[in-house]
Amino acid sequence: MVDKSIENFECGHRACGGCGAATAVRMILKGAGEDVIVVSPTGCLEVFTTPYPETAWKVPWIHSLFENAAAVASGIEASLKRQGRSEKVLVIGGDGATVDIGMLCLSGAFERNHDITYICYDNEAYMNTGIQRSGATPFDASTSTSPAGSCSMGNKHAKKDVPAILAAHGSPYVATASLSYPTDLMKKVETAVNTPGATYIQIHAPCCTGWGFEGDQTVAVGKLAIETGLWVNYEMVDGVLRKAKKVKRKPVEEYLSVQKRFRHLFKPKRNEEEIAKIQAIADANAAKFGIDI
Amino acid sequence: MRELRIHGRGGQGSVTAAELIAVAAFAGGVYAQAFPAFGVERRGAPVQAFVRLSDETIRLRSQVYEPDYIIVQDSTLIRDVNVFAGMKPGGIAIVNTEKSGGYEAPEGVRIITIDATKIALEEIGLPITNTALMGAFAAATGEIDFSALEDAIRGRFEGKLADTNIRSAQRAFEMVKGGNA
């Protein structure tokens, strides 16, 4: 049972007002419980929480490098095992560190099936360095390295399906969640942490600065992702899809139109062709996960 | 200091031979050093391994260029490799061959030929010639005791494999001792 009173994230951190990652991490730490060690790769979260000597972390926490969090976690887990200690090892990293530069270490840790939980807060670009695209950036999103232009519609590729990749590693528990659905998120973290072996959760964490919306809209934007089918909350147990959140789907433009990163799809004129492509992604998600009510 | 150079083909156990000779010599109270000519050669390619034996600590780390002894695991190597290169006068060359000789060695080098392949096939059932040649080396040079060699082989191989290898070494040892090689 998740203890919502747990508060292991200190005020005074330097996240943007309305930061999705900060909100998600507060929930993650509630779901994970008190007996936990957190590893963070380099990224927004790491930077806004730990300028020496001010740490926002009230649980033991370590940052080593950008791409090695899963390997550092592997070493911690091995050490704890050797010492007979009970702490759970939890990685909390962004999508850049997870789906791109840290993929090698992530794959290794999951193949070895260390008893760790890896949580990716997915804000769909490299926010720490100024909103460059990542392997988790959605199709057609404009970022500083996949800018929309007179002959570009933004990011040319679909999101890398890391949950499926890690499920294929034999992970006993893989889930997706959204900060806009806190109860579900916290329960999934609790489940993942208490499942032996390498478990993974990818959390949709809207970034007001990077995506271009006001900080008070973070939760609302996250909800729209779910309601349009562009983000699906599901669980995979031993590689088998168990549960996906069903919705009465809205058209994708309701999600796209509230974010500056998709503004080029609507201005100077509405681009029906591109919006249709994104709608097709949502439709495919709906078919794959059976989310339509 | 005495130096041995072993010529063989990848897979014939030249490095193991060097190591076991060093182990046996060390057991006899001698300071020994064994190392391969480090390479990326695969099975079949000509390879070398080296042994140094001395009554004092060996500090020298270069390869062996002027050996007192050589072991040639396979006489077919002689066609392409100058196995006798740099041999010291008074040196001993132990050559595995079915022939009885006819090799051109430097002045003063004694060549001992032995059909180690035949011995190995009969005793081990496989053409593993290195242990027979170690036995021949022990007999020809007196650098290592046979009992020390036996212990060294037993330290590396287990059970029946050790027994057959020791028998192979013993036969070669006795042949050379008896002047029948």
Partner: protein, 384 residues
């Protein structure tokens, strides 16, 4: 007890005797025999440790960082490209002040690909904040692991260390070593006592970032710890001598150096060949000696300046080159002797496994006598 075994296995035994709790390594030639031996020890319950079969060297050292911060004594081993892949992690481990010990079976750097020995790999990490010790033979390689853990884990030091030994030339060579017992090693090296660790009962944040207000001071503290390590190596080397009889009380060693007019300076396995060559040259009346550097980081500049103060000529044997400049040891020696009238010449040799013979040492000594140096020695002119 004296026994004869392969250098890699001697190192693996030394590591076992040091009781690491987490071993994390990725195989690479010529380091493989060490990590294979350790894996066997774990499989046979001869070493009570977690052995993590990581997917890369990068992860190998990263996992050591995790295990070390969680409170375990850790070990890894690598060489060449593997060490280069760890580059970033090396700086990180040193900055986090983690007493990780890692064996480097020295090997050349690609390209061209070469599996053979020189010391370019560890030398290229000279600025990373790791203590660097170089072994002349397998006894020293074995012993330096004990010394390294003892020094690194001192709470006044808290630095990681490379124990470097030449790939193949030592790693694949059988030679006798005096293997200490577990009781002896336990008496020398106390159980791991982490200075601070990840612990839910006492949460600490590790690996924070430092703004310009703090960064330089952290680097300065790192530098100070490195300089303190000089004294610690001498202290624990002396302790080692008292307990085991083998003398590692110096950062450097002299051989026939007291009355030498020409000093050769070298690191690692080449020192043995140099000593034999010196014995021969001495018989011919050449007043030549060796200054062996055991500890390259921290660099014993004052000790070297004092040891070489009386010589006329110095010839440095560098198994590395800082491309566009000189050999790394040569540069350091020239710095240590700055302002003196000693002629100092640097020779790049033995790169990529090029064999070094006594006659080469004689030839270099002659070149130095003639005032010719700062060159690659032993090039095949017909290829150039």
């Amino acid at each position: 007890m004296k026994e004869i075994l392969e250098g890699s296995h001697a190192v693996a035994e030394a590591v076992r005797l040091c009781r690491p709790q987490v071993v994390s390594a990725y195989p690479i030639t010529p380091q493989t025999h060490i990590v294979e031996a350790l894996a066997s020890m774990v499989a046979d319950c001869k070493l009570d440790a977690e052995y993590i079969c990581v997917e890369s060297e990068f992860s190998a050292l990263s996992a050591c960082i995790g295990a070390s911060t969680a409170g375990s004594r850790t070990y890894s081993a690598t060489t060449s490209q593997g060490l280069a892949l760890m580059y970033e992690v090396c700086f990180n481990a040193a900055g986090m002040r983690l007493p990780i010990v890692m064996t480097i079976a020295n090997r050349a750097m690609s390209a061209p690909l070469s599996i053979w020995n020189d010391q370019q790999d560890s030398i290229s990490l000279r600025d990373s904040g790791w203590i660097q010790l170089y072994a002349e033979d397998n006894q020293e390689a074995l012993d330096l692991h004990l010394l390294a853990y003892r020094v690194c884990e001192d709470h006044d030091i808290l630095l990681p260390a490379f124990v470097c030994f030449d790939g193949f030339i030592l790693s694949h060579t059988y030679e006798p070593v005096d293997m200490p017992t577990q009781e002896e090693v336990d008496a020398y090296l106390p159980a791991f006592n982490p200075y601070q660790r990840l612990d839910a009962k006492d949460p600490i944040s590790f690996g924070m970032y430092a703004t310009p207000d703090y960064y330089m001071e952290f680097r300065y503290e790192n530098q100070r710890a490195m300089l303190r390590a000089k004294e610690a190596i001498v202290r624990y080397g002396t302790l080692f001598k008292e307990q085991f009889g083998r003398d590692y009380s110096g950062l450097i060693e002299g051989y026939e150096l007291e009355d030498a007019e020409i000093a050769l300076v070298a690191m690692g396995s080449i020192c043995g060949t140099v000593k034999d060559a010196i014995d021969e040259m001495r018989k011919d009346g050449i007043k030549v000696g060796l200054l062996k550097i055991r500890c390259f980081r921290p660099f014993p500049d004052e000790e070297i300046a004092a040891a070489l103060a009386h010589v006329k000529t110095v010839a440095i044997l560098d198994k590395n080159v800082s491309l566009g400049s000189k050999g790394a040891v040569g540069l350091e020696i020239k710095d240590a002797l700055y302002g003196s009238s000693i002629a100092v010449y640097d020779y790049i040799l033995g790169l990529g496994g090029r064999d070094i013979r006594k006659k080469d040492i004689r030839a270099i000594t002659k070149l130095a006598e003639q005032g010719s140096g700062d060159m690659f020695y032993g090039l095949r002119e017909e290829l150039l």
